[in-house]
Symmetry: C2
Subunit: 217 residues, 2 copies
């Protein structure tokens, strides 16, 4: 797996969330018509989750140097970050499990400016299969492979299924040629080597808060 | 802010997701009646997201040493991790915004074994306010302060509100004495210093996948 695309730039996965934050802040700035930003104002826009020093360090690793006392050129930096993060292109997404969570995710993504396109929806509940959402019909999960073939495949599968189903569904989407999985079920997925699976466990996110609250008691 | 509770143990925030993974795996193992695990089998249970070496290192930082060729005592390790992560006690949670996402989060947490208690629900849509969910009535967000006072407060506020509302709602829950916020709106929140706000931006999570997909093209 090659993690680079821009020559000379190599990132480990852990920088990506920060780069995404910068990208998001730059989109806002750009919409406001600002053409140059300092690392200080970028940090401010990230609500100081990141220090100006960290921003300068991250961006200099990308080969982008701000000019002292002036800052970074917004358009160029935005384009570079978008390319690096893969946000300059369309991505086809399947959502598996179209309950409250699946529905929330589909709706959320449809309002975002990133080019995430909901391309397929799956469930197995009789009252959910056959529903339509934004011109898409929710298909039965049994028809996963046929539907993906028919609709030209997807790039990313978002798993919003119950825990007991997650591993099986992950195996099936991987076998169907989907190389990226975002999993909301609280189970550690076993996937083939070429597949990149990322897990979001809400309870794990909350434990970061409870650890903080515990420590500060 | 003191981040420690167990004497001699000091963690930075970034270890917590891994410790939570170990905790989750140990809960499973414990339910299966296993009393001792090796770092290798723990790694396996985490679907090899973590190496055995990393596990041994993390756990030795907690002062917990496995015995060579034998492993870690499950009950003791589980108790220690639960205490450190704050998972050995009840936490009262308010969910703000009771649309698809808020509903999904409430349902998800109510099925979990961690002691997250949904203590208050808020929205502002006329058809949502007044609904009941698990014996809780959804209250109007205008009544936030009064409701929290009346119901004895909450420890954590989960923000599932639209972006445009997130900052205002965060300010209000912070002013009402809530020190921990989990925010799903894609905005960087400004909160008072004693408040710990953690952001989950789904698009940011997806960008980790699209960065991977872009790099491996």
């Amino acid at each position: 797996m090659a993690m680079q695309r821009i020559p000379g730039v190599r990132l480990n996965e852990f920088n990506v969330p920060r780069l995404f934050l910068y990208h998001r802040a730059l989109v806002e700035v750009s919409k406001a018509g600002v053409s140059v930003v300092t690392s200080e104002s970028l940090a401010e826009l990230c609500a100081n989750d990141v220090t100006p020093t960290q921003i300068r360090k991250d961006l200099s690793q990308l080969g982008t140097l701000g000019r002292r006392g002036r800052g970074y050129e917004v358009a160029g930096l935005l384009e570079m970050l978008a390319r690096l993060l893969g946000l300059d292109q369309d991505w086809r997404i399947a959502i598996l499990g179209f309950g409250y969570l699946g529905h929330a995710l589909a709706t959320f993504l449809s309002y975002r400016e990133e080019r995430f396109r909901i391309a397929a929806l799956f469930d197995l509940a009789p009252d959910v299969v056959g529903q339509t959402w934004n011109d898409l019909t929710v298909r039965h999960i049994d028809d996963l492979e046929a539907t993906l073939r028919e609709q030209g495949g997807v790039d990313i599968a978002v798993l919003a299924v119950p825990s007991r189903a997650a591993q099986e569904v992950a195996g099936r989407v991987a076998a169907a040629g989907v190389d990226a999985i975002l999993n909301f079920a609280p189970v550690a997925l076993r996937v083939p080597e070429q597949v990149f699976a990322r897990n979001i466990d809400l309870a794990g996110e909350l434990s970061i808060l409870t650890h903080y609250l515990t420590g500060s008691e």
